[in-house]
């Protein structure tokens, strides 16, 4: 995270959001308290570097994830959304992630039917010990979103009127 530390980088980021020329991906990650959040924390304490364009929102379990969270993120200008939690079998609440997986299965098809670009949506399982996987996931997803550019279609829709 060193890249993003300090006021200079912070100021720069505001500019990136307001000017079209210096656009950077805006990624929202809904991650579970027990595995992925701890994994991301491990990445931080291990001083691993990854792009600073991800906004992390902690949820108690992926079972708590509601598709409306994702819609709200897009409404507020996200270019990509990641949902991540414990691997199957590792859920702190035994079955939250299994229930989440069923929801994802249905919801991703609904998004696809509505014409949301599914490259902007990502699901992953990242355990508390997988700081490296968190870093790789964010790096890769950031690159994908950078390649895609801003989510213009959605932004045009929310800005109408």
């Amino acid at each position: 995270m060193e890249e993003s530390h300090g006021t200079e980088a912070g100021t720069e980021r505001v500019d990136q959001e307001t000017t079209a020329t210096s656009w950077e991906p805006r990624i929202v990650a809904f991650i579970c308290n027990w595995c992925t959040y701890t994994g991301a924390d491990l990445a931080g304490t291990s001083r691993m570097k990854y792009p600073p364009y991800v906004r992390v929102i902690k949820i108690p379990c992926t079972g708590r994830f509601d598709p409306l969270f994702m819609i709200k993120a897009f409404e507020r200008g996200a270019d990509g959304v990641l949902v991540s939690g414990c691997h199957p079998g590792d859920c702190h609440y035994t079955a939250g992630n299994y229930n989440a997986r069923r929801k994802y299965t249905v919801f991703k098809d609904l998004l696809a039917t509505l014409g949301i670009d599914m490259d902007r949506v990502r699901f992953s399982w990242i355990s508390a010990s997988e700081g490296g996987k968190w870093v790789d996931t964010i790096k890769h997803f950031t690159e994908v979103i950078r390649g895609k550019g801003p989510f213009r279609e959605y932004r045009e829709m929310i800005d109408v009127g």
Binding site: L68, N99, V106, D109, L110, A112, L114, G115, W125, M157
Partner: protein, 286 residues
């Protein structure tokens, strides 16, 4: 069709006369010649208002979710095979008790929309002769669902790129005036307080703006995923003709493909989003 009408009246008269039910929900002649209206019959004498014909499109199961029918101890309800699917959905989710509802099933050769065309649900019908009921009237009608009819509208959608699909839905959903007729008429939209009415926090914007229209129509379809029995009541009720059944059928197709489940078939099974399997598809999760 008239023998069906007679059969319904006879059973309703009997049930209302001996106190089997407090009331019977059925169809009666509407204001216009080609229309029928839902009616609540409370006395045996009134039973002659009941009828059945090819314009009996309404799914009456939606009355089970609201007063006064909801509060009744015992209620009779006239239903086609497709309507009974909704009852099965409600039973699965413990929204009604089986003992409370007495079903007068009618065998149905298919109904017609207001414009005289045959709805997709009738072309794809596999329950012309209902199998779940207390009494049944009418001759047996064999089902011969037209192959592919159920999902035919989805092919055009599948052929589009995501951007084209998004534009298509932008155009359709921009029409939404947020009257919530789709929700009111749906037999399975059962929440007494809908997510669209909650405002702390407000997940779904309430003004008819594309932003809120998108979230509303998305969440409506999502909450019906694996539950929708494809009665087409929402699409029929929609005053601005949004093809809501495209979304519902897309969800039905997903649920069929992923969990081999069809809504409204068996009251003993669990709806797919109330259960899980350890070996559910994991391929799309990194």
């Amino acid at each position: 069709m008239s023998d069906r009408t007679e059969g319904i009246r006879e059973i309703a008269r009997k049930w209302l006369g001996d106190g089997t039910v407090e009331a019977v929900v059925g169809w009666e002649q509407g204001t216009y010649k080609d229309k029928t209206s839902p009616v609540l019959i409370r006395t045996p004498e009134e039973a002659d208002r009941l009828l059945f014909n090819e314009r009996c499109t309404n799914n009456l199961m939606t009355y089970l979710k609201r007063e006064p029918v909801r509060g009744m101890e015992k209620v009779g309800i006239v239903a086609k095979g497709c309507d009974i699917k909704a009852l099965i959905g409600l039973l699965q989710e413990s929204q009604v008790e089986r003992e409370k509802v007495k079903v007068i099933a009618v065998t149905c050769p298919g109904v017609k929309k207001d414009d005289g065309t045959v709805p997709v649900k009738c072309r794809a019908c596999d329950v012309n002769t209902p199998t779940f009921y207390d009494e049944i009237v009418g001759e047996k009608v064999d089902s011969s669902p037209e192959p592919g009819a159920r999902f035919e509208g989805l092919e055009a959608l599948d052929a589009m790129t995501p951007a084209e699909r998004f534009r298509f839905w932008r155009g359709e959903l921009d029409k939404c005036i947020r009257c919530y007729a789709c929700r009111q008429v749906c037999p399975l939209c059962i929440c007494s307080r809908c997510i669209a009415e909650k405002n702390q926090p407000q997940w779904v914007e309430t003004s008819p703006h594309p932003r809120g229209n998108f979230s509303w129509n998305l969440v409506r379809a999502y909450h019906l995923a694996g539950r929708c029995v494809e009665c087409e009541a929402c699409e029929t009720a929609c005053p601005v003709n949004i093809p809501l059944m495209l979304l519902n059928r897309a969800m039905a197709r997903t649920v069929k493909g992923a969990f081999d489940y069809e809504a409204g078939k068996d009251p003993e099974t669990q709806p797919p989003l109330r259960a899980f399997n350890l070996d559910d598809d994991n391929s799309f999760i990194l």
